[in-house]
Symmetry: C2
């Protein structure tokens, strides 16, 4: 297995990325890690060069770059070169913690779509109260979708949950504004009808965004606009609440502060359960090879989780299975 | 001022509703409260009948009823009769904690739309970290919307924030999947262009759902499908997190339990800040008179808040101002 890595992408790159790879290569001695970026900057954090290949690049795509323009102009950027390694057969999968839009565009235009799939989607494993998690897509690769796209998302998500997370017969639900079949926009109602007729998935009907974090479904399918809005609402609410609790305790009286110290362990355990760190990165699904986006602020541990996720995707050949599925679709 | 009240609607009706009115009539001695429902059941909780009018009804719309069918068939239900009182000029506004869909349908078909407004919307004042709150619409009165509808929502929300909440020159934002003007679906981009050209509102551009709870806007405009999904994602996340914290503390060791007891006050203060109880109910805006939906599980205090909100709507004649605004639109 060979994984190409954009060593320069992310808030704490290359340090966080390289330190993550130091850890990952102990866990996965059979993986070759190809690090794209500035050799000196990379080597400064690298423990040793066993199973490591460093490929020098001269350009950098940052968070301010306009995605499509950036991948066209900055051909020698660490991001574009790492993605191109997959296209050229030099690597089996690519990982970046850099500019999301640029990685999506590079995945789409350089790696390319699986035949019969019009619109690849961005998918993440989100945490649930019971710790099992669920896969949600599209989280914003598309600004709008048709029912046919969502039908593809259902299959992509179902294969992923079954293979990478080991969920048996994953329950696939459609995000709508009511659990009844009659609820939702025209687009959602048409999607409901399509999903009901796909034999290969275990479609359990509509789900409301209120219920997704409870573990009521293993895969939640949404159009890119709504999926993105729901994801950011979850993130925003969790962040505001945790900050409010922290502030309330910090600004509270003496007894509150003591109490805060005593519950600290529980709160940090909660933060771990609800954190996306351990679930790996967001996958661009529907393209010909795993293209994975780690959080911009990924810690070395989050990079290891993401390598674990990619390893599982390659080991199960979930992408190869999907290529076959869609090849025989028509 | 006369307010008609569906005394039988809600999880704890009529007890919670009537007890709320007992409190409200002390605060607002100039309001006549018209209670629609079963006289004996109402009287069992009523302190005295000063400023109270009880109107006997024989039917009940519950949460299982299909909204449009229910308002057509159950003409003598407390909900339909209370709404009809507004239509007939017997009351100035109506309040129900019952079936949301039925109240929306009754508001739409019985009270009727303001001239020039195609699609009334459901709006609530949601809590922010700083305690000021923001008004969001549409929260699900519509399953899909056109840009013209959202332009109306912007005006409805802006008048409401300015009059009922006393916000000077309310900042109106459009919910999208990026803050840049170029972000969003075709519908959202068209709406952005429309909102930029409305002179009567202070349009500040797009907002992501991640940022709405921080108080970055006073009014957030969304299509009914996305608004509903975002609202329920916020509610679901808050509920899961608070329950997780509670469980973590309850199932923790001795020190954690002690700590939990010490921070209890802060957590309950937080719950108050983030609670929608004090902000009143959800308003169906764009109809000819205030039609207000209180939470199904409203406490007597929540009913008082909702009466306060209705009082403010009537006092400022926000609906009359809107009728005038849209009358002169074309």
């Amino acid at each position: 297995m060979k994984i190409s890595i954009d060593a320069m992408g992310g808030d704490y790159a290359p340090e966080s990325i390289v330190k993550g790879i130091n850890l990952a290569k102990k866990e996965f001695p059979n993986i070759e890690f190809q690090l794209y970026g500035e050799p000196e900057a990379i080597k400064a954090h690298l423990e040793d060069e066993k199973n490591i290949k460093i490929i020098a690049t001269t350009e950098l795509i940052d968070f301010h770059d306009e995605p499509v323009k950036a991948i066209r102009k900055k051909k020698d950027s660490s991001l574009v070169r790492a993605v191109k390694a997959v296209k050229d057969g030099e690597a089996d999968a690519v990982l970046s913690a850099g500019n999301t839009g640029a990685l999506l565009a590079a995945g789409l235009f350089i790696v390319g779509r699986i035949k019969q799939i019009d619109r690849p989607a961005l998918m993440s494993t989100l945490p649930t109260a019971d710790g099992t998690g669920f896969d949600m897509l599209d989280l914003g690769a598309n600004a709008e979708n048709k029912p046919e796209h969502l039908a593809d998302f259902a299959i992509l998500g179902s294969y992923y949950a079954a293979n990478v997370r080991g969920v048996k017969n994953p329950r696939v639900a459609l995000l709508s504004n009511g659990s009844e079949e009659s609820k939702g926009s025209t687009m959602i109602k048409e999607t409901h009808a399509l999903l009901s007729n796909i034999e290969d998935i275990n479609f359990i009907g509509n789900i409301e965004s209120r219920d997704i974090l409870t573990g009521a479904a293993d895969v939640v399918v949404a159009d890119g606009f709504t999926g993105n809005a729901v994801l950011k609402a979850i993130e925003g609410t969790a962040s505001v609440l945790m900050r409010q609790i922290k502030n309330g305790i910090m600004n509270g009286g003496f007894t509150t502060k003591i109490g805060g110290a005593l519950v600290k362990k529980e709160l940090s355990k909660l933060k771990d359960t609800m954190s996306t760190d351990s679930a790996g990165g967001a996958a661009l699904v529907g393209v010909k090879a795993p293209v994975i986006k780690a959080h911009g602020n990924s810690s070395p541990e989050a990079i290891v989780s993401t390598i674990r996720q990619i390893h599982r995707m390659l080991e199960t050949d979930v992408t190869g299975q999907l290529v076959k599925h869609f090849e025989y679709k028509n």
